[in-house]
Symmetry: C2
Subunit: 263 residues, 2 copies
């Protein structure tokens, strides 16, 4: 198992580094590599602290592929989950119009060991450590989505609210939020865009951890600006106006490999 930052670096070596950081990120990354700034890691995210929440320590976490049994109202030990994922995203592109795109693919989620195994009281820290989605729209052509390696996508699963009498409820849905940094490659347009503000994936009705076969996720956003990776300091070139998603079930190692090999 490799560490998140390094895996992302080696697999996605070039264009994303310019994203949120602009030229300065690449500069700082370069300095880190020479030992002038920071330390061992060349990742801009670590030098500049572009972390939208705490980092999950991957040490010792088990890689979870299909088949897995996921029980309702049960908190499992931490692990790295490989789950199918689908979404429907609506983009507005000034001068072009509004476009709805269906995506499917997978995400790899590092799920820390829980604060407790009590369903209601448990808090769980999560990071998205890989993301691959593919979609198609007649006007926009093929669109590929991947994780932005310059920013740590971090989130958490919350304890349920205590009841009025102060006692927690054993079988109550939990809430989850993940601040997500992505790159959308609109290949027909020759345009890759990324978000500087999180795409906040959220779900207030989780009855399983991880939330497999749960189609009810959405992103909390309002005209989220998307920036051109080739002009990261410029004005937004597109907006994400709506996103609904569903986590599917665990994938096999072979299914994950097939998705990752699709370019």
């Amino acid at each position: 198992m490799r560490e998140h930052g390094k895996a992302s670096d080696s697999e996605l070596p070039t264009v994303s580094r310019r994203g949120f950081l602009g030229g300065a990120g690449a500069l700082a990354g370069g300095l880190a590599a020479t030992g002038l700034v920071g330390g061992a890691s060349p990742a801009g995210a670590e030098v500049c602290g572009l972390e939208w929440g705490p980092r999950v320590d991957l040490t010792g976490l088990k890689e979870n592929f299909a088949p897995q049994e996921v029980k309702q109202f049960t908190i499992p030990a931490g692990g790295i989950d490989h789950l199918g994922l689908h979404s429907t995203d609506v983009f507005t592109i000034p001068g072009m119009g509004e476009f709805s795109v269906d995506f499917s693919g997978y995400f790899r989620v590092a799920r820390a060991h829980p604060s407790t195994f009590d369903w209601a009281a448990a808090e769980v820290r999560v990071n998205i450590v890989d993301l691959r989605l593919f979609g198609r729209n007649e006007a926009l052509g093929e669109i590929a989505v991947r994780l932005n390696p310059d920013i740590l996508s971090s989130g958490q699963i919350f304890a349920t609210k205590p009841r009025e009498d102060g006692n927690s409820v054993a079988e109550e849905p939990k809430a989850c939020r993940i601040a997500t940094a992505a790159v959308f490659e609109l290949r027909k347009l020759g345009l890759s865009v990324f978000n500087k503000e999180p795409i906040l994936l959220m779900n207030e009705h989780i009855t399983r951890v991880p939330p497999v076969d749960d189609p009810s996720g959405h992103a909390l956003l309002f005209r989220l600006p998307l920036y051109n990776l080739q002009d990261p300091k410029g004005e937004p070139v597109a907006y994400l106006t709506s996103l609904r998603y569903g986590a599917d079930h665990y994938l096999t190692e072979g299914e994950v490999r097939t998705i990752k090999e699709r370019s």
Copy 2:
């Protein structure tokens, strides 16, 4: 007139630098000051590109104080507005409970020259360049809010949606969003907290630019994590769960001075 980054630096010299950037930000800032990284500015934001949207060029923008006339459905030339501001924020602090706090104070908003003076078509880029709010809660004591100088708080006022027939509507409310980075000083607790994800101030019914005497703003957020400035990489120590705000009218230079002198 001083530049945003520099003004913030000189007025708020120490603690905020550790915020989003962690130790690395201070390091990069220090290197910038020595000329090893970046350029002239010691601001971490410029070295590391922590900008939640484009920067407004302040050159030549007029400083606007009371009295000002603000006409409905009219786009003014760019300027730097000094407006009264009030908000009601709800915080959840694990182990302590939920707290609603009323704040009042001011914000200083750099408003770029518009893309056009046509109300419906105009797009306007804005940055919050200063923010001072003061509130009090019986349990939490005095709370002061200020802008986080490590992150550029950037936003925009949008063109109205074209009608079905493709023509724009002359007198239609405009929408506005500003991604805001703040520091909340909970003085009685000896705790200062900040947000790593934007507090997204938004308003979908703006009939004046700037939106003076408009109480209908709110923040789009879901359990927004707040981090301890003294432990920026740790787990969240509080959450902002609701925020409603209203922009008041222009303040005089004397009123702004009084607010800024309050510490």
